[in-house]
Symmetry: C2
Subunit: 501 residues, 2 copies
Amino acid sequence: MSLQEKLKEVREYIKTMELLQQATGIVYWDMRVGMPKKAVEQRAEVVGYLSGEGYKFTTSEKVKGFIEFFEPHLDELSVIDKAMIEELKRGYEEIKKIPEDRYKEYVILSSKSEAAWEEAKEKNDFSIFKPYLEKVIEFQKEFLEYTGYTGTKYDSLLDKYERGITVAKLDEVFGELRDAIVELLNKIKSSKTKIDDSFFKKSFTKEEQEEFSIFVLKKMGYDFEAGKVDESVHPFTINFGNKDVRITTHYYENEFRSALFSCIHEGGHAIYEQDIPDDLIGTGLGTGVSMGIHESQSRFYENILGRSKAFWKYFFPEAKSRFSQLKDVTFEEFYKAINIVEPSLIRTEADELTYSLHVIIRYEIEKLIFNGEVEVADLPRIWNEKYKEYLGVEPSNDSEGILQDMHWSDGSFGYFPSYALGNLYGAQMLEKMIKDNPKVFDEVENGDLDTVHQWLKENVHKHGAVYKPADLIKLITGEELNAKYFIKYLNDKYEEIYDLK
Amino acid sequence: MSLQEKLKEVREYIKTMELLQQATGIVYWDMRVGMPKKAVEQRAEVVGYLSGEGYKFTTSEKVKGFIEFFEPHLDELSVIDKAMIEELKRGYEEIKKIPEDRYKEYVILSSKSEAAWEEAKEKNDFSIFKPYLEKVIEFQKEFLEYTGYTGTKYDSLLDKYERGITVAKLDEVFGELRDAIVELLNKIKSSKTKIDDSFFKKSFTKEEQEEFSIFVLKKMGYDFEAGKVDESVHPFTINFGNKDVRITTHYYENEFRSALFSCIHEGGHAIYEQDIPDDLIGTGLGTGVSMGIHESQSRFYENILGRSKAFWKYFFPEAKSRFSQLKDVTFEEFYKAINIVEPSLIRTEADELTYSLHVIIRYEIEKLIFNGEVEVADLPRIWNEKYKEYLGVEPSNDSEGILQDMHWSDGSFGYFPSYALGNLYGAQMLEKMIKDNPKVFDEVENGDLDTVHQWLKENVHKHGAVYKPADLIKLITGEELNAKYFIKYLNDKYEEIYDLK
């Protein structure tokens, strides 16, 4: 069989696998957005079945055959085809070493675990979630024994979300970042500038929040003919191909910023997926390359753009015309209030500066868990202690503490660091974007966000998962990941807001 | 292998097949309720893939083996196990004769055809839908050549939805029914009683309609922890097992009755599915037995119950307290207005009396199509002519004519007659229900619908698809299907409403 014929065959195979993934995605989305309560058990079995089928696709003899066939020919392939085969191989090897029945059992467990987490959070009772979390962790450790790992177990988990990232590298980058944040935070604490954001805590109906969020998303370039916005406990983005990319949010009547900025954040993820070129669909590369790069997009939109002066030069008058609650608020007051620095309990509602400290806490706890240095029963206490130590605030209950995020319920250990990596990548991209388009923020001021969108599309989105994150950031900016851009960005921004000079 | 071991094996097999069906159902529901526009093509492929997998389950060598194994032992099996094997066999034989690639192609086509129908209806342009409808009909005819048929081709299509029903039988029953309706209709036309229902055409917001529908559904016994209500172009019920049974409706601001009665109707379907006993899940029998029996439940709730005096004795004061639009309306006016007889264009909004004529028109057109006596291009004209002839009204465009129902877009030919069969079954059940509980409607007057629900659950719902429809109606009422009960019911009801005595 010729290379071309075999390529056709492998693409057909991957395409079918993607159809199954899309179906699984829809079922999963429904579980989180609209499923009635009593369906939990039956739905967990459906997810278990579909995941079992997915497992078969990823680990089949056919895939083994493809890998063996292409191994001697990798250098004859196009960049895309080569990446496609490598990705297929990575999936095969990552999963083939886990026995199928253990994998299936885990998938069913993780569905139930998510439901338990939701209930525990609602009832503010960690004990409901604890046995599931323990089992999820045990499974993750067991899996690492099957797959093997370089360095520590946690190194391997990090690598799942951001290939090549290690504990050693993160300790270094996060160290540098933490020093800078702490220094800046101390300056802010002694600043005489006090920011009032009480007007955001007036009453805003769900409907008016929703309408404004949709208005902003449209301006950002989120395509409502290829997506929609729903409600869930915790906001997320999910895509079934590039033509159906959905986001969710959660509305709080007495907090104007929460749903709005979560929509902008998820919108950043979603635009990335919507921009994936059609010709990457069916290659296994038709999606964002890594969690870190994905977060760079969401956090670029949320913070670098969505909390910038230029952005609100355009959107503030619109907000004022819609919300009588803002009628006495000046632009300066508004801009400062969306950028208020205030150490707090909830990661997703943290300010841009202290946000990374929330991530670092989770990173440190995950390290403890996978180095076997802690019992699950002790996690709520450790969580609360770290919050007190780093942020100076202490959760009064587990719902605003350890139960706030859903990530651990489905075993996404190693994911959290991506949020901070996203900050670093994003600021590095910003530098290049402005170099390429010095007037880009003038356009934003006029409500034209298209240059931003097109730059991200051309430089990031259009590549899908063809290049590894480390290669991509170099391809885009001409240099390796470097924390200095984000640190400079933070210093410039907050020096002005808090009059620190 | 012992009978018991083999039974365990076959149940495991059917259970897995049901998990796939549930996943397919969720994907299908999403297509109809929330899918963004641009996803149509990709989603059609997903549905095609899943249906292909379903096809494999239904027609596998394993199923063939099960059938051969149990064939000599059918009489040793319990009622349920025997029905389970027979159902498995029926599915195998119905589908095995269709070549897999043709079947898959058809499923993809029918997804696209549904989308085309939706667009055609929206744009009021039959020509958009026409090529799809032609292909769907061609496929249906082609399939009948593979599967073979007794009597006419249309007999076979009827049999799919209501086993044992033939064109000969329907010609007879529908003839009897039509004579009775026409006679009654003529009396009504010459009655001096004129009913005013203009107050229903005031403005009712979607939100207030929705709240009231949910209130009524709860009282009916629809379990919101095992279902939910969404919006779609055409109302429908869909279930993924018995723990997730969803209904949809469509709100019209200037027609109070539309969404309300469609919710009561779909609620009747949904309660049937929610009441299926857990031990029928995983047998292939854990669902309503036929379309006709299903419609008997939906139409029982919608008309026999939902348009009765007793029902509104309780719900009218509630409606009055919610809707200021009804403040000057008396109970008698309200009751007559929900039972107004007025030949009209839209089946789903037709009154209880003329409704069956809408069904008979579709029945006659379907006969023409499958007897090859008509071209698709002529259907809109024939449709309009028949409406003029039987109902005295003529559609001014195809959206309120031939494009109004989605049934033909996915090839559900032979389904429509079920709606009228449901009327007949329902009235026959009513007779027995009152015999068993002479005070049942007194309870309904007090807002207690539980006796009705429990009677239907005990007599109909709990059996799932274990008995054939003809056996079930005999089991329940002690006699075969008989049109006289429905005819008597209609005469009694309308004689009073229109003062015909």
